[in-house]
């Protein structure tokens, strides 16, 4: 609750800071605001409160998710130094909108009422539409923004219709009220309930880009400015899965037999579509978009096999995924900027293709190493956090006895190794004539912290277990 209030205030403050002549204060201010919000998050630690007339719940799980979301946002903002150099950028507005969007994410994490879920999803999405289109002169960014907006608004409509039907069936918008109806129906569950549940699920699965509702993801991730792609693929995904988990584990656990098959089929589709299509990409950024689809698939395994371990598995996986993704996008930002500067003079391959990474590790050992570790983590190689994330996910499926889901997931993560290793091979074994890239201090800290976190959690995955 405290972070929600503070972030709203800080967002407005940041907008006013934009009036100052000097832009240099904005980045430290945004980072400070995020840190303060992260700190006050833990005021209620080990206590469970309902805030705003029972609209929002604050418990340890929601605080852990909040910490992951705010931590990812902090790292993404720390990577945003390049805004200061870009004349046409408006950093005050970007940071303000980022902070506001986090309010939406936190509402999605702690909602206790479908109204809050809807408002949270919308705050987050509307902010992301703006940020996706923030590169106003760039046609790709424009196109991504329009696609994201139209598809997002469309699925919001579907999600709302689902909520309306659920309300018609259960007479309540609260998670507890819906649960009470689903667990103990007076005259059997009505058709309205099932259709409503399905439409609500479709709306949320769209937001986390699960197949077959993933078609917007590659275009939007590709067209959006890289920094906001990093934000979208970490914060939005984590918040979306937190919301799905709350909804399914609290309200709909009574009708598990109805939705788990549907979710298992969607999981399979997501894993196959994400991983197989990623193999054929030439642009690293687009590969990361498909990779984020495939990771949505791994996260969905835990939901399809909802059980005791799901909570822990989702927390661990989203943390491992967020950290590795931010490191990868951070390196991409630097490399792409360097290549852009070069292509203006010489002409050459696209700044975001795999070739851009050729020979990176020799010239820039730190960048190469950070990228390699994050790729290994995303591929799920042992001694990285990604391995344990996948391990926990897969063990939830084993617990439920969904062996075929497990087989698909293992096969698909083998496919994943192929396209993640393309980057590592390009960096370490290809020749590239590149000058060393200058890495600003903020960048260096973020990359080092992300790498250390990935390896640390890979060596000692038990660190998180005591938390909740």
């Amino acid at each position: 609750m405290f972070p929600i209030v503070l972030l709203s205030v800080f967002g407005i403050l940041l907008l006013f800071l934009g009036f100052l002549k000097s832009r240099a204060i904005l980045l430290p201010a945004a980072l400070l605001f995020l840190l303060v919000s992260l700190a006050v998050n833990f005021i209620d630690w080990n206590k469970t409160y309902l805030y705003f007339n029972g609209m929002l719940l604050s418990d340890n799980l929601s605080m852990v998710f909040t910490a992951i979301v705010l931590g990812s946002a902090f790292m993404v903002v720390a990577l945003s130094g390049s805004f200061m150099e870009d004349e046409s950028a408006q950093p005050a507005e970007y940071y303000g909108i980022l902070l506001f969007s986090l309010v939406g994410a936190l509402m999605m994490i702690g909602f206790e009422n479908l109204i809050m879920l809807f408002v949270g999803v919308e705050i987050l999405s509307v902010a992301m539409y703006v940020l996706t289109g923030s590169d106003k002169r760039n046609l790709r960014s424009n196109e991504a923004a329009l696609k994201y907006f139209l598809m997002g608004a469309f699925t919001t409509g579907i999600m709302l219709f689902g909520m309306a039907l659920l309300y018609g069936a259960t007479g309540s918008f609260t998670l507890g009220g819906i649960r009470a109806y689903a667990v103990n129906p007076q005259v059997g569950l009505s058709l309205l309930f099932y259709v409503g549940l399905l439409m609500l699920l479709i709306g949320l699965l769209f937001k986390v880009s699960a197949a077959p509702f993933h078609f917007w993801t590659p275009d939007v991730y590709d067209g959006a400015p890289t920094l906001f792609t990093a934000f979208m693929s970490t914060v939005v995904k984590t918040a979306g899965f937190a919301a799905l988990f709350r909804l399914l584990s609290i309200s709909f656990s009574g009708v598990y037999t109805f939705w788990w098959t549907i979710l298992a089929i969607i999981t399979t589709l997501t894993l196959v579509a994400g991983n197989i299509t990623a193999v054929y990409q030439n642009s690293f950024k687009r590969m990361m978009a498909y990779s984020s689809i495939s990771h949505a698939g791994y996260l969905l395994i835990g939901l399809a096999a909802l059980g005791q371990q799901t909570k822990q598995a989702i927390v661990f996986y989203s943390l491992a995924y967020s950290v590795a993704t931010i490191a990868a996008f951070g390196v991409l930002l630097l490399v792409a900027r360097q290549r852009n500067a070069e292509t203006i003079t010489s002409g050459g391959s696209s700044s975001e293709s795999f070739d851009a990474f050729n020979g990176l590790a020799r010239q820039n050992p730190l960048l190469g190493f950070a990228m390699a570790v994050s790729m290994l983590s995303l591929a799920g190689i042992p001694l990285t956090a990604g391995f344990w994330g996948k391990f926990y996910m897969f063990s939830t499926a084993v617990e439920r006895g969904q062996i075929w889901l497990l087989v698909v997931a293992v096969l698909m993560s083998a496919v994943g190794i192929y396209y993640y290793f393309r980057v590592i091979i390009a960096m370490y074994f290809r020749e590239g004539a590149t000058a060393p890239i200058r890495v600003a201090p903020f960048y260096r800290y973020v990359l080092v912290v992300a790498t250390l976190l990935t390896i640390g959690l890979g060596i000692a995955p038990g660190l998180l277990e005591g938390l909740f």
Partner: protein
């Protein structure tokens, strides 16, 4: 679908069965979906989305008055407010695209393809 407290529902509303409301709002919703999927003009797609949202509003109000429960009507206010915010952002995006391409045909937007 049984109204829980028959006494509280006004006479006028009871004359039309709840199923009719469900049918008409579903019909509006489907018209909206078809509009989104078939039209190429960004503004018309936008209008279709608004139609979908208003179908939801109608449905919520119908359920709300049949149940004599105000939370559905409160939700409608939230939807209207959020839809207004969404409209402002959406129209801004469309204006931005029109400035760059002199067109609002979504079929022309094909720079991003694998």
């Amino acid at each position: 679908m049984q109204p829980t407290q028959n006494v509280l529902i006004p006479e006028v509303i009871q004359q039309i069965p709840l199923t009719y409301y469900i049918i008409i709002s579903t019909a509006l919703f489907v018209i909206g979906i078809i509009g989104v999927l078939t039209r190429r003009n960004a503004i018309i797609i936008f209008m279709s989305i608004e139609l979908m949202l208003n179908a939801v509003n109608l449905l919520l109000i119908a359920f709300s008055s049949y149940r004599s429960d105000s939370s559905g009507q409160v939700f409608v206010f939230f939807i209207m407010a959020v839809a207004a915010a969404e409209v402002s952002v959406g129209l801004a995006i469309i204006v931005m695209i029109y400035r760059n391409t002199r067109s609002i045909d979504v079929g022309l937007l094909n720079k991003l393809k694998w």
